[in-house]
Symmetry: C2
Subunit: 245 residues, 2 copies
């Protein structure tokens, strides 16, 4: 029986999603908790994709196979009691045996939070990227319009990514909204390259600071060279918001 | 020269404000950082009062004496660079040599945050008390009106407090406000007993759940007995908001 699970996690105290020996990872904690329920060492799980150290998730999706006959509400309760307080199960239920959390994902939505104020706020230090300088929001919005659509995003992919195949992806939405002291980016696409959202945000922030013109995004895309894009924005402002199937 | 400092801290990873051997405390970190600036072991500081393990501060006030001749903006920069990321200096400046952070405090304001939703939110687990049950907000507001004023708050003081002298205090404001999924209590008074705000909140939550009538607050005050009041609400929802002089 295949189970699909939607989870949220606070990435602060994890060495990222993917299991690594000797490191505290989200995958490691979940496989161990499921292992306890199954009275074995661990139960392998497959996620929609990895998230880096410090990156958070509101709606990460995972699947795994089980022989246990348990009601969904009991699954949630039992597994919650075995997981640490920084991983939360939002939903769990039976799915078709052919469902695959990674291959069946049609699109993903990320949000990126900038805390935009002269003084930092220690309560946001793990959950938003603090930018003290003034930002031209309209120019940032304009820059994001050039990100939308089907492009070769080589310039927005970490140089050491090891991504195989082409780097053409379709960004379905690239927008930002101001909410009080926060600037919230919404980036939704059919697939993402390594560090793609963080490089987009880092580059758009440079536009906001007046270091680049919004139209430069077009040149950056054309260059297909990581070096011409801006800095990678820090991990702790990034949230995997949800995954569409 | 006496300096007054307003600080904010995230209490999550501290064993409270007060210095204790072998424990990570706010006072300990500040005295050590000041010690580095003065090239001595540590510089003693005096706060408006202690906060418990897990309790946060937005505007705690501290004073200390120094011979260093440094501009206020440089004080802030130098000390910030020596402090951990969960303590923030909001303001620092010279004060009258007779100023005392504790004895001169005329009143203090605390806020207490309840996260009121059926599902918890892991991002608020250290910063709000999660209550899933339905709450009668109007009855809670009514209960708080009986808290305001000058009373003997023995029933709202931890039994093991060791407080000397009388337990008569004046609560200048006791109110709550709903903001989305949050219920924010504001409790301002001329002085507070040990755990007083958390016992008030815990008792008022029991009123909200229908376990007690709002008028019971009057009986609890009259009883002068900790056992008749409600549970102590958890530390992590509490914020020392500011101190008035």
């Amino acid at each position: 029986m295949r189970m699909k699970m939607v989870i949220s996690y606070d990435g602060t105290n994890f060495s990222g999603y993917q299991i690594q020996p000797g490191k505290r990872t989200i995958q490691g904690e979940i496989e161990k908790a499921l292992g306890k329920m199954h009275k074995i060492d661990k139960v392998p799980v497959i996620a929609s994709g990895r998230t880096d150290s410090g990156v958070h998730a509101i709606g990460q999706v995972i699947h795994f196979d089980t022989q246990l006959q348990i009601e969904p509400s009991n699954w949630l309760r039992a597994l919650t009691s075995l997981l640490p307080s920084d991983i939360q199960i939002i939903d769990i239920g039976k799915v078709d045996d052919h469902f695959h959390a990674r291959y069946d994902a049609k699109s993903k939505e990320y949000r990126y939070v900038i805390f935009h104020r002269e003084q930092p706020d220690i309560f946001k230090r793990h959950y938003a990227y603090w930018v003290a300088e003034s930002l031209d929001i309209d120019k940032m919005k304009q820059a994001l319009t050039y990100i939308e659509g089907k492009h070769d995003f080589t310039s927005f992919c970490a140089a050491n990514s090891g991504v195989k195949g082409d780097k053409i992806r379709t960004v379905l939405q690239a927008a930002l909204e101001e909410q009080g002291d926060e600037i919230i980016f919404t980036i939704r696409g059919d697939g993402f390259l390594y560090n793609m959202v963080r490089i987009i945000v880092g580059t758009v922030v440079e536009v906001g600071k007046g270091k680049r013109d919004p139209e430069e995004i077009l040149n950056i895309l054309r260059a297909k060279n990581r070096k011409v894009a801006g800095k990678t924005a820090p991990a702790h402002g990034l949230f995997l918001w949800n995954v569409q199937y």
